[in-house]
Symmetry: C2
Subunit: 206 residues, 2 copies
């Protein structure tokens, strides 16, 4: 330890924080900066300054600014987008799609629109988006629909991946090409239109 | 007329072209440049050079590069995206959604993804996108669904705007967040899932 470069925790007088706590504080800071000021204001320097972690630490855990922004976004919205599994797929989908549309309508919607926008010409960010965010979230929804199919609530010929595009994807469409507003009526219409074509008829249920 | 600055048509030895022809040639050039080389290579200079129109002419008709790129895109894809009206809404939607997914899979998909991406941080391009492209195209689809509702083929409680998000919007979702591929099976699953929830039951038809 030299006077020129003391370790960050000592310099800040906060004592050494456990890695899990540092990680959580970095994600908090990243999510807050992204949602409050957008991608233009999002830099590794700023996340380091707000969280009290060093840039070396940030780069050890997140290979790029985009990866950290995405992880911060996921961290900021995941508690609002938890997937219920009450056994009633229609109710669970309605709850989830309403929450999702509500999230898109706020600052998180603006942030994720910028991330998706930038990903169209930034292959590294696009790969990080799929790996850190959209892939895992898609899997949660696909799992829920697949379980409902196994319970006999969803028809055997339904493709769970396509259901994701027709509920959540429809929401992203209104976010990214805002010809029409993201309202609760819209969320409910998504469910009302889709459910009759994917639910089993009573005589098909196990 | 001076030797220093002869009017472009004379210099190019093509004679004066009627405005409608110039316009069509500009749109051809704009569409081709966009689909072949993407937005990074798309400049007013290049469209002027390829089409033989002057930059002054381009700016007279299109206020910005984005507006011209979008109009070129519309011009390039519109003949492949004509909306049939055979009186059978299910068949018409299937034909249209298959063509749309096919267009998205090719170079036009890459081009429109870049335009939508850039529109997320460029409010002028976003406004042009809605005015020149997505608004008019959405209206065509909404009109088709509304006519089918008036014929009694689509249920009275269906929201035609939301149908657009669940068919075309679902396609844009796979284009912009490519977790899953844009295939004909996907197009067919979109129709198969949605139609039972929006079509009138036989006893409801007029």
């Amino acid at each position: 330890m030299t006077r020129e470069e003391p370790p960050a925790p000592v310099r800040r007088g906060r004592g050494r924080r456990p890695a899990a706590q540092v990680r959580a504080e970095v994600l908090d800071a990243a999510g807050r900066i992204l949602l409050e000021d957008g991608m233009a204001a999002f830099t590794m320097e700023r996340v380091a300054a707000v969280s009290g972690a060093s840039k070396v630490t940030l780069y050890k855990w997140w290979p790029s600014k985009g990866a950290l922004a995405l992880d911060g976004y996921r961290h900021a919205v995941e508690h609002r987008l938890e997937f219920d599994d009450t056994g009633d797929i229609e109710a669970d989908l309605r709850t989830q799609v309403r929450s999702f549309v509500e999230v898109l309508r706020g600052p998180a919607g603006r942030a994720v629109a910028e991330l998706i926008g930038q990903a169209q010409t930034d292959p590294e960010l696009a790969a990080a988006f799929r790996e850190v965010y959209s892939g895992p979230r898609r899997a949660l929804a696909v799992d829920a629909v697949t379980r409902a199919r196994e319970r006999g609530q969803i028809r055997a010929d339904v493709d769970p991946e396509t259901v994701v595009d027709q509920l959540w994807g429809a929401g992203y469409h209104r976010l990214l090409i805002p010809d029409q507003p993201l309202t609760e009526d819209f969320a409910d219409a998504l469910i009302r239109h889709l459910l009759p074509g994917i639910e089993s008829r009573p005589d098909e249920r196990g």
